[in-house]
Symmetry: C2
Subunit: 374 residues, 2 copies
């Protein structure tokens, strides 16, 4: 008898259902704190703007991992183990960089001893490895040979060197380093939560970061600034900015890089990136253009939509910086993943230190118990 009319078993959960776990606290953290209303972001209490001004990505990563502020902390990129290089060389050249990075991290994990609980040394090793792996894939797919790390370069200039074959000038390195700092951590977003869920089974750091990369790959995760690049390209030159923005707003088009789910005020990450950019001795053309477009856009948006709090978001300057330092737009998501390694691994350390299996309930909505059809 196919008993489709049987009553489904009742849900036995103690909490009301909140789709997407919105508003449900799933972890305690002392790492990132986001105050969207005030436009504030702190890592372990330190303002993101101060961290960008006084720190480097390795110093910020170390702060997240250990709680200690050591502004001169150095972290060069690490060599790619042969097994990973073989895996990367075997991928189709058209493979997505995020898939290549996920595969590199998984292969790396298979070559390491990663005992529980995760340690700052494990976090450091993976964070130093991944930029080399992504740079290697980016070269291999263009038919170029990967470049060995330069131990004298810190992580971000080292990544650029392994990507391009040239040691970047100070301004370029500084701009991308600032991007890495503001991308390092942002509380319990979907990818970080994924890393914590995987860690909560007492699994290893590489498994958790693999899962996090997979989650970040999804377009709903946010942090995909490549559309901003197209917009800046369309504007073309500073003198066209005013007209282009006005026309776009008149047509009812959405300006990319403005407005945010959480931040109602100016995104503190955008502010920090803009400040770094503006202080560069030799501002490249792309930066002049981005600043000009932003000024015009904020003015026009305030004039046309005074009721909305549309401020610059992090994607805007992220896009400007990423394309400005020469990254192709299809590398943006994976570069964001490199930056977020610090936060993911810091959350993994935090979860490991006070662990409890994360295992929510499901509400069963299917058919009641029934016989198989004859």
């Amino acid at each position: 008898m196919n008993d489709r009319t049987a009553t489904a078993p009742a849900a036995t959960t103690a909490y009301p259902y909140s789709p997407g776990l919105e508003g449900v606290p799933a972890a305690e953290t002392a790492l990132g704190y986001v105050d969207g209303a005030a436009g504030r972001l702190t890592y372990r209490g330190y303002r993101i703007g101060d961290l960008v001004e006084h720190g480097t990505y390795p110093a910020v990563a170390n702060l997240l991992w250990t709680g200690d502020w050591m502004p001169s902390h150095h972290l060069p990129t690490a060599p790619v183990p042969p097994a990973v290089m073989t895996a990367l060389r075997s991928l189709p050249r058209a493979a997505k960089p995020m898939d290549a990075l996920r595969t590199a991290v998984s292969t790396w994990g298979a070559t390491q001893v990663l005992d529980w609980p995760a340690t700052p040394d494990q976090a450091r090793a993976l964070t130093a490895f991944s930029p080399s792996a992504l740079a290697a894939f980016a070269r291999i797919r263009r038919g170029l040979e990967p470049i060995e790390p330069d131990p004298d370069l810190d992580l971000v200039p080292g990544f650029l060197y392994q990507l391009t074959g040239e040691r970047p000038d100070a301004g370029t390195a500084r701009a991308l380093d600032a991007y890495f700092i503001v991308g390092a951590e942002h509380g319990l977003n979907a990818s970080t939560f994924t890393a914590r869920v995987i860690t909560s089974t007492r699994s290893d750091l590489a498994s958790a970061v693999c899962g996090a990369i997979g989650a970040m790959k999804g377009p709903l995760h946010g942090g995909a600034p490549s559309e901003v690049v197209e917009q800046i390209h369309k504007v073309g030159s500073p003198e066209r900015a005013e007209q282009w923005v006005r026309d776009a707003v008149e047509r009812g088009e959405r300006l990319m890089g403005f407005g945010h789910r959480v931040y109602r005020a100016y995104d503190p990450r955008a502010a920090a990136l803009r400040k770094v950019a503006e202080s560069m001795e030799h501002k490249p053309d792309w930066l002049e253009l981005a600043i000009k477009v932003e000024d015009v856009a904020l003015r026009v948006l305030a004039e046309k939509h005074p009721e909305r709090a549309l401020k610059t978001n992090v994607e805007y300057y992220a896009a400007a910086v990423l394309q400005g330092v020469g990254l192709s737009p299809d590398l943006f998501p994976a570069t964001f993943a490199l930056a977020r390694h610090a936060g993911w691994t810091a959350h993994i350390l935090e979860q490991s230190a006070d662990n409890r299996l994360i295992r929510p309930d499901a509400i069963y909505t299917g058919p009641g118990e029934r016989d198989l059809p004859a």
Copy 2:
């Protein structure tokens, strides 16, 4: 000023904090339903015992993916793409099979077009691929050549063939197929939840299964029956069972394979596996021994600990079947992962069909906003 005394920002979440999200509903599902008190498990309403008795793993997987019960549904294993084979060959021979499987799935994903939303065809393709990949790695690490799939064999006998080079007899294939069926799905455990969180960002099926494998790798996930094998080996022969079990219980040792977090009654998966095993025409020695040890253990446990509801759990017969069909214990976790592919991918389909980003809150417990140390 290092303002360590500043007040931490207050939590703004609407729900009370439940560590590990215990009792918190995080998804709706019409797939697996676990009634631990009654010792019942259903997939889409059908009792696990009936599914094992009348179905095969491909039929059960298809039921989970589509809702249709087609008992003659056929699914052979799929070939391993060259990029994956290269990646597997490059891994250290001592790599953990779970790490190898995670890397294989990640590499496979990098070679596929996996558009959103996930489809039953994608689920079928990955579920058919993974057994071939694990079998290939299991051979490569022993210095043997991988074996191509036999399209005439269904998934489970096909996996055994690619592992051993011999087509399994019907009883062996049936026993492992039953194990795959009872391992296929079990509601919102940590690995399945991981797959749903990753999917909720609109990421792809391979990314989600990669994350799930990573979560299942953790010892807190459960489903690691290799300790049961050691126990059965220690008993050695049926005639020694009574004395061995009594001695172990007297010494206060825990008997592996008895008792469960959720099931207070006899685990329906263990019951289903035992039934298949008992109905085998030629019961192998290992099975006779396992049945004998179980009978003795249940009797002694009831006698010595009448207050506890210690019943046989799924690990017990899982271990018996897995070692009985010739798998080495270090392949057990990855074989469990192969079986769970059906459930993971079915949850991915379910999440994709009615998606909402899963993004819980964090409770910030760190220092309040402060200046960097001078």
